[in-house]
Assembly symmetry: C2
Homo-oligomer: 440 residues x 2
């Protein structure tokens, strides 16, 4: 279900390293963990997303003959290495936090255990998938927190960074609690509810705005949402009131209007009043245009009479924080814990588990331990793939429910778009000892 | 050459509008223009990029039977409309600024002329492709301006927003003057030079750093670039000096070292000194980690002895300006100019041409006129597709040359990463008259 399945979608150094691993017999079992080093300043927590596409990528991982030919020729790679690549499959194990799990800095959300060469080769694409969907789910959930109970539709495909970004943003934001998307292909691939209205061109190509509204309504009698800001918004709202009785006679209700520009608060108030005075109290008001969680908070805080929002560009690009500082790092090789101590980019050694400790139904703190230690609390990492086979597939509804349930158990101070003091994440004594033994 | 070719990669409203167009016979010829409303605060100019992928998309545009089946069922669309979609091809004309052209706010960079329904349907994906590649080329050229003559390699695939973003970022940054990319698939698809070193895992899986360096060098004797910041950077640089004679005896030169963390200026100076004192004056220094045009300017301004840079996350996400405020708007329908006057999002009516006026070999100003008027200067929009067929394909080398030549003719005040007073773009009297006739 990923758009691009080529095994060459990786960094060159992965292939040159793998060649050296193979040359020197470095093919023992390795474990890599993926984590986010620091939360962005504007995020109190993150939402794990993208695992389904990662597992699909691993199941399908193989080089095509065309790719191998090209690589052998262009890189002058030895035939024995090409044969090694030809036979390569992902037959390893994966543990992960299920999608919809909330997590914090330094907590591993995914662990790959496989022979070193293949565990290395899959790094680039795993990060590419997981960081983006996690980024978007973590942004989208803030919109949900900012506009509780409102209709939220993902609108960002056109300014998402390419096709796959648009598809994954639709999926990740739906996972995070959005009502649906405008992205038709995402609707087909991921079974996400679709929403749409009309664009300015529809109005522009008519000589009279009223004719545009009538034409659209008669073509889509069950879902009449009219765009009213092409020229003069209040005038268009009055036109809506004027044509409503005509359509009513034909059995057509005007379900809503959309405003896409200008001062949304001011315009929404004017339009609401015009509609109400015209007897269209049930016609809803939908708005779009440069929206994000900050603007939603502002608009709803000022009492804007808006029932639904299309959130696009700033969501799909996660505009205030366009990337996560994440890494996929070797934590164990040939049975021995591994770490790195690069300045500002150090990693913790050993395969890890994360436990979440609840008190009175509320998450109090997380504890990172080595994977085989018991601990109080609920373990968050679960086995999701064994010997290259997925263990189970969860329906999207389960992911949405998980996120909702976890949000409900989050400390209220974090359940807001305001920056909050960090949630406590403890590192177990065993990990600290391992680290001091290795760095000492 | 796009990753995703489905015609359903669009917004739902495009399909609902098209259905209404067809219902009401609104199938005359329409022209839409794509432009950027405002330059981002941190950009003095933009670089047109992505046209090749747009034209490929238009040539291949069609609905599959599977897509039509799904759409008919899930949207309850009438059979006549499904038949219309089944037969739909893009057989229109396209004018555009060739890739590598510099442009400014409000200037159309692409014009599509085709029957209204199809010109409408292709909007979403055209913006999706053009805005991202233009965004990245416009960011990458700033890195080139900030680090003239240095080796610049695009490193961002892992934190790009999905697969296609990674591929398009490699292409757009190469177009803008980068030396190459780490993205192997981009190398294959777009014939871009590939670069790569090693990752920390390669060092971590060895017991001794020196062994890791020796193993890597012996596997890749022609391209030895060693990553020296896994544990202690100066110590690793001394290790490089120690093993150099061993490798020399085997006929292997250490071409370079890479630093990926810490204070790059300080570390680069220490490492340069250690290498020079060890006789490795020809071993180059390559760095990466949180780089962008601002950091490059800072490092090189302080005299950092760094020969090449891997620029990744902040380039591929265009982190300081993660999107362009661009639009694709109807400018003419059935032979009549069209506009919209939405607050803050007004558009200029009529098919347009942009002329660039040079004086003493330097670009002085641009003039936007109606497409059929003559004007002083050089016209920037050219016919690139006629009746659905591409007119010519340009090799990447020509695009890179065009950009270089245009940069050389740009006023020096704009040819910097410092914000400069805007380049003058004039609107012709004809367009102003058209606008005042329509709004008046």
């Amino acid at each position: 279900m990923t758009t691009e399945s080529s095994a060459l979608l990786t960094d060159l150094y992965q292939l040159t390293m793998v060649q050296a691993y193979v040359d020197h017999g470095l093919t023992d079992t390795a474990s890599f963990e993926l984590f986010v080093r620091r939360l962005p300043a504007e995020r109190n927590f993150l939402v794990a997303a993208g695992l389904e596409q990662v597992l699909g990528f691993l199941e399908d991982f193989r080089f095509s003959e065309q790719e191998l030919d090209w690589y052998a020729r262009s890189r002058n790679a030895p035939p024995a290495f090409i044969d090694f690549l030809r036979a390569l499959r992902f037959e390893g194990d994966v543990w992960a936090m299920p999608e919809g799990t909330l997590f914090f800095a330094n907590e591993p959300i995914l662990r790959v255990t496989a022979p070193l060469p293949v565990a290395q080769l899959v790094e680039t694409r795993i990060i590419n998938i997981l960081q983006y969907q996690t980024l978007i789910a973590s942004k989208a959930v803030r919109c949900v927190l900012a506009a509780p109970g409102r209709l939220l539709v993902e609108f960002g495909l056109r300014r998402a960074h390419g096709a796959e970004a648009g598809l994954m943003a639709a999926r990740a934001s739906y996972l995070a609690g959005f009502t649906g998307t405008s992205n038709v292909l995402a609707g087909m691939r991921f079974d996400i509810p679709l929403f749409g209205t009309m664009a300015h061109a529809f109005v522009q190509c008519h000589d009279r705005e009223a004719d545009a509204f009538l034409d659209f309504a008669r073509s889509h009698p069950d879902n009449v949402i009219l765009l009213i800001d092409t020229y003069d918004t209040p005038a268009a709202a009055r036109t809506v009131v004027e044509i409503a009785p005509v359509l009513k006679q034909e059995g057509i209700d005007i379900r809503g209007v959309r405003i896409d520009s200008g001062d949304l608060l001011q315009r929404a108030r004017e339009v609401r009043q015009i509609l109400d005075e015209g007897g269209l109290n049930d016609t809803t008001l939908f708005s779009s245009g440069d929206l994000d969680e900050y603007r939603l908070t502002e608009l709803l805080g000022q009492g804007a009479p808006i029932d639904g929002f299309g959130v696009g560009t700033r969501l799909d690009t996660s505009a205030d924080e366009p990337y996560l500082n994440c890494a996929y790092k070797l934590v164990e090789y040939a049975g021995r814990p591994r770490f790195k101590s690069s300045e500002g980019k150090a990693t913790l050694p050993g395969r890890k588990q994360v436990f979440r400790v609840y008190q009175d139904g509320q998450a109090m703190r997380d504890i990172m331990t080595l994977h085989d230690r018991s601990c109080e609390g609920t373990p968050l990492l679960q086995p999701v793939m064994r010997a290259g086979r997925r263990l189970q597939a969860e329906p999207m509804s389960a992911l949405r429910e998980r996120l909702k349930a976890q949000l409900d158990r989050l400390p209220p101070s974090l359940r807001t778009i305001e920056p909050a003091p960090p949630y406590p994440v403890e590192i177990s004594e065993e990990i600290k000892q391992l680290l001091s033994r290795q760095t000492g």
